[in-house]
Amino acid sequence: MTELLGAILPYITTILLFASIYAVFALGLNLEWGFTGLINFGHVAFFAIGAYTTVLLNISGCPLIISVIAGVALAGFFGFLLGIPTLRLREDYLAIVTIGFSEVVRSILLNEEWLTRGPFGVHGFDRPFQDAVPYQHYNTFLLILFVAILAIVYFALERLIQSPWGRVLKSIREDETVPSALGKNVFSYKLQSLIIGSAIAGLAGTMLAFYITYINPCTFKPIETFYAWIIVILGGTASNKGTIVGAIILWAFFSGTKFIDRIVPVPFESHQMGAFRMIVIGLLLMLLMMYKPEGIFGRKEELALSD
């Protein structure tokens, strides 16, 4: 029994570590899309900026905590820079510009070797409290740390969205003409939402780097953005609780399907299994969306409302 537990526990720890990182990542998107209605298809750019800034500063001798703060701040700052020219665009154009931006960031990571070390990536940076925590317990420690970070981000966001500030964001999502007719500076609120969402993504990027200990430009492909979208939609758009649950489900799907060939005999070679898993994940998501289109914590009655 203890043997079995010993085999399963690290496995569950891995799922929860990834889930907590991606939950933080997707909470940033949920603020932008779920509460403000901004279609950001370039969320991964801020994930990358946060991760790269932190580790690059750290390996050049900067203390870890300052590197993390800089990573988060720089991700937020890039949100600000991207927001100024784009937030006046209509929603679908914003989507196009943001996805382009994320690819530009990845190209820079790949090609500006003097700064980012190019395709070889970065490793050998510090991890938080790595000397204080014994190696065999490090992942458990990291999980506790990440859950604590997730909790802080969650409660901070909940407080924000339940405030009058959050009410203005929601009104922008519903129909931005109304808040501007009522004297709210819509552009400024969109910008604030994008800055905070991006800073949160940056924090998630830092967490990812600490866990996987090695990052390269391939870690930050556009698909990462869409994992965040899947998480938000799965959990129920505009529900932070749903976003956390969505992240756990997505990673349970990812990891759970690894062993599918042991349960159901499938006629695939091991190298084909990866693709097969994606099919299974897609199918599971489709079923969920068919039978619960509002997401897990979404409100069904909202789907029926009209303007």
Partner: protein, 252 residues
């Protein structure tokens, strides 16, 4: 004293001269009706005055030039408008729709939410009580917790007016407040407008329901083809044959 003066407003869309040299004065504390056939440029006038569209000409509101300000700044000066098709914030409750409105709320600033929680909550309580008062005035207080998107067309009209009043405007621009509303509700809305005017509010009302708008207005402005055709007291306008012709599209 004029609360609003617009001089020589123009707005062209390609070859279409939606508003073509329109001037209008609105005296403080009065109700002015803006009528005219479809395409006369009434809604474009509203858009120009409230800043949602840019054209040329001069607009002075409470002694301040507003023709270069963005809509939210104009709203903060105390001018609010409603829309022809009511814009309810669908997935927000009726009460939330109202509580959104007051300008310069402390809790709208992110650092106040983080650092001055108590003061924000205090103000929130005041805003809530005030919003409930307005909902009671419009007799839709029993709908406070409903989604705004679940309301009927008439209720949405009332909600839109209620929300506009919640910012304490000195001038309200109402775009067809009586259209698609049953006679009872229409009388009720007239009553509310009258009562608010008694309290010192000024109104500019676009309306196609001529009997309703002439009954309530102190002055009527008739627009046609982007220009002010005539203006005067409701009784005079009702007798004018050329106004009738414009509406019926005939030569008389």
């Amino acid at each position: 004293m004029n609360i609003l003066t617009a001089r020589n407003l123009k707005k062209h869309f390609g070859g279409v001269k939606a508003v073509d040299g329109c001037s209008i004065d609105i005296e403080s504390g009065t109700i002015v009706g803006l009528i005219g056939p479809n395409g006369a440029g009434k809604t474009t006038m509203f858009n120009l005055i409230s800043g949602f569209e840019r054209g040329s000409g001069e607009i002075t509101f409470k002694g301040q030039r507003t023709d270069n300000l963005s809509p939210f700044k104009i709203a903060r000066c105390g001018m609010v408008r409603t829309f022809q098709i009511p814009r309810a914030l669908t997935k927000m409750s009726v009460l939330e729709n109202l509580m959104l409105a007051p300008t310069m709320q402390r809790g709208e600033r992110i650092w106040n939410v983080c650092l001055r929680r108590k003061k924000v909550l205090e103000q929130e309580q005041t805003i809530k009580e005030k919003s409930m008062g307005i909902l009671e005035f419009f007799e839709i207080d029993d709908l406070r917790d409903e989604y705004a998107g679940a309301l009927s067309g008439g209720q949405k009209k009332l909600l839109e007016m209620a929300r506009a009043i919640a910012i304490d405007p000195s001038l309200m621009l109402l775009d067809e407040p009586f259209s698609g509303v049953n006679p009872t509700l229409s009388r009720k809305i007239s009553g509310h407008i009258d009562e608010l005017r008694e309290g010192g509010m000024t109104f500019l009302i676009i309306e196609h329901d001529i009997p309703a708008v002439t009954k309530i207005s102190d002055r009527i402005v008739v627009m046609n083809e982007g220009r002010v055709m005539t203006e005067g007291k409701p009784e005079e306008i009702k007798r004018r044959k050329d106004v009738l012709d414009v509406y019926l599209g005939g030569e008389g």
